[in-house]
């Protein structure tokens, strides 16, 4: 027998709802919005390909960009899957996916440093170059991050910080995939401090967004 108070609450708010599309469809939607956003950011900042792009082996320039984009999309897809109750991503898969994103970014940075004649890090200009690159990283990640978190929090992630972490990592890896062929600096210190640092920063933003949402939605997180 349905308790009267529950019956009243439900019947007062029983508007028809449209079910969420499956995770793969929401991922495609996120990819389309993020791609449009990336194009706008590239145009707005007048970003161009790095000068040594022709000297880099194809697998390292476009190949790694494509691979990182795939990993970024997978991470976004996992975040959107995690956002639906009963579709939780196992902890091992989360660790593997996030770890792959981070390791790949570092390995691509190291490989580029080894292969590229690159632009040397001019003494005294490291901070300026770093801030510029970080700004680009954030701007490039923002469309993917915004659409992913919006889609995640429109659903009901029961582990929102995990969903946020996956979304943040996905957006950061996607941004790095693009910035890797735009940033002219190959110096490993620049890559590890600014680009890898920004990757971790965006992961933290996703995780924190999840924590905040959890507190807002459930109160006692």
């Amino acid at each position: 027998m349905l308790p009267e108070s529950l019956r009243r609450t439900i019947s007062d708010d029983l508007a028809p709802v449209r079910p969420l599309p499956p995770a793969w469809m929401r991922t495609l939607y996120a990819v389309a919005v993020a791609a449009a956003g990336l194009a706008v950011v590239v145009a707005a900042f007048k970003l161009s390909l790095r000068p040594d792009i022709e000297q880099l082996p194809m697998w390292l320039s476009w190949g790694c960009t494509a691979l990182q984009l795939v990993v970024g999309v997978v991470l976004v897809g996992m975040a959107l899957r995690e956002a639906v109750p009963g579709s939780g991503v196992p902890g091992g898969a989360v660790a593997l996916a996030v770890g792959t994103g981070v390791v790949m970014q570092i390995l691509v940075g190291v490989a580029t440093w080894m292969h590229s004649p690159g632009m040397p890090l001019i003494k005294g200009h490291g901070l300026k170059a770093g801030v510029t690159c970080s700004t680009h990283d954030v701007a490039l990640a923002l469309p993917a991050l915004a659409i992913t978190l919006w889609l995640v929090f429109r659903a009901l992630p029961l582990r929102p910080s995990i969903a946020g972490l996956l979304g943040g990592t996905g957006a950061a890896v996607t941004a790095d995939a693009i910035n890797h062929i735009l940033c002219p600096m190959s110096d490993l210190r620049h890559v590890l401090v600014w680009h890898t640092g920004m990757l971790f920063g965006l992961m933290l933003v996703g995780w924190m967004a999840g924590k905040l949402w959890e507190r807002k939605r459930f109160g006692n997180a």
Partner: protein, 186 residues
Amino acid sequence: MGVDRKAEEERLIALMIGYQKGSMDDFEGLYAALKQPLLRYLWTFVRNATVAEDLLQDTFLQIHRARQTYTPPRPVRPWVYAITRHVALMHLRSGRRRKEMLADDQLPEIPVPPEMEKFADKATLHRMLSELPHHSQEVLMLHHLLGMSFQEVGQILGIASGTAKVRSHRALKALRERLAENQGGE
């Protein structure tokens, strides 16, 4: 999956679709079909019938708020049990739990996996089950009592189906060992 289980799952999916379209009758059907198993599941967390009843209402309110996140024709039960589990865990995390310490005679019965019943009397099994770590009790409850597949258990708990299988195997093994110790001691 048996024919009954399949038919039951199809009925739940139909009810859920109707509920998403705004049918109160379908919500009531869903409530009637899920009330008892959800109460049993909630008991494994709170061991208190009154609190479990309250949490059941909270669960259905959460289900209502999140009803658009169910995507037909996915199975309904992993979706519902994941929400239920979350409601119970949020309750345990909150300070309310400490105020609900109860005398032993108020503790409800923890159901026992049928394959264990032949090993000892129900009272002994209840005591031993309640002494198992909560994650072991939970897997036993979901797989052996509520008849869910390891894949569904994994979806509810956010773990791989293999991990769910291992947990269930270890829980049954631990239970058998305790029973052997118990029988040896008598």
